[in-house]
Subunit: 226 residues, 2 copies
DNA sequence: ATGACAAAGTCGTCCTACGAATTGGAACGG
DNA sequence: CCGTTCCAATTCGTAGGACGACTTTGTCAT
């Protein structure tokens, strides 16, 4: 086994065996090098890998710590990489959204409170009023992420956020298409909000499903980027 | 910006800007050090991070290469870390399965062929016949992953695999409970297969949903590990 | 008690050196 | 001319040392 694997496996075992628990500080790099029998360079590479995956966090001058190991955080580590996916990959992710967003919307329908409903309503008003594409994108994102948060499943919210972060950056190349998309999109948002306000999980989920499917249709048709 | 961030951002940009495409070989470490203006150690740490996330692959003596950047592979990188999640985290993941597995099962219902149906049937026969817990676990895994594959969405299959890989390792502490679980579990499997064979996506999805919910119930009730 | 300060500990970065694996081409034999 | 063998160059893997940057802690003077 290579030195890097030794270090990686060693660190992973320390956590898996609960010798190190969430929030704990790791021994210093020097100590770990001795314990695991690898050089500092190899050890640091292993630490970086676990840090990239959201398992460890390193603080300069202080030490390395085991993260809280929340499912949402580990899933969030994907956000660094989904931005590199080619077009086909984005469509695969959209397919995941077709399963997740209706689910989240249905959950939200039975938990959402009056105040949040009003907030969402205000977002849609603002979205329909502005012509700024960046602003529309920002509001759209907040609308959907708010619903995901209301669903109350952190891992679900995080995953939806990761998946949305990619399709979000696409723009219609044809202005006419963009206008048509916005028209349908606004209607879709209203339908979702209606389902939420009526506390109707089935209606809300159906509206969310249609909304994602419609988005997917346009992304597929219009492969413009950035 | 730290040297590590410089290297990380530099590599990421090379891929994002399509200067490096899937399958391409990166310049040697020495060249990259010059280009990016960082030491070899820092560069290697950045490479390791991207490798951990499934973006790069390094081959000893040959060089580092950009991966195929398939969504399924990037999602698969989570499998190294979900094994470290505590109990609460596993329940969060099960909640995700409640959305994903019915979706996959519904898709599978409209695509599955006779041969695969017979294969699944054989798996259930074998599962009901054996008393070996490891064997049951293996068959259960193959049954569900086969359905996920038939759904034809690689990213979905990969994600379900990652999520299942965790709950899979749990065992009932009480033998009576285990027997009861198996009884219901077998019935659930049969219900799913029935839906698939009849090409009924709604029935299949409902059966899958009930199956996951039932699993979740037992995992919640019985917090035994390993 | 409070604040500034100094010292120790820890991570961040760079450098050099050499071992291990792969690769490509040259030399050889057919 | 073709195939094989072997060597040398290239590249990654690992180790160790050195020093700077940052944090933490404890001390000291106010």
């Amino acid at each position: 086994m290579s030195a890097l694997d030794t270090a990686l496996h060693g660190l992973r075992s320390l956590i898996a065996d609960s010798a190190l628990r969430p929030g704990d500080r790791l021994p210093s790099e020097g100590e770990l090098c001795e314990q695991l029998g690898v050089s500092r360079g190899s050890l640091r590479e292993a630490i970086r890998m676990l840090a990239a995956l959201g398992v460890l966090e390193t603080r300069h001058g202080s030490g390395s710590y085991v993260s809280e190991l929340r499912a949402a955080d580990l899933i969030g580590s994907l956000s660094l990489t989904v931005g590199l996916l080619p077009m086909e990959g984005v469509l695969e992710l959209t397919e995941l959204r077709r399963a997740l967003e209706p689910h989240a919307t249905a959950l939200a329908a039975s938990r959402i409170d009056e105040q949040t409903l009003d907030h969402l309503d205000g977002l849609l008003d603002a979205n329909e009023a502005t012509a700024d594409l960046d602003e529309q994108s920002r509001i759209d994102h907040e609308f959907h992420m708010t619903i995901a948060e209301v669903a109350g499943q952190d891992a679900l919210t995080s995953l939806i956020g990761v998946l949305r972060s990619r399709s979000r950056s696409y723009r219609m190349s044809d202005p006419g298409d963009a206008a048509e998309l916005k028209l349908h999109s606004d209607a879709g948002h209203r339908a979702i909000l209606r389902g939420l306000r009526e506390g109707d999980p089935v209606a809300a989920a159906a509206a969310a499903s249609a909304h994602v499917a419609y988005t997917e249709y346009w992304v597929k048709k219009n492969s413009g980027s950035v």
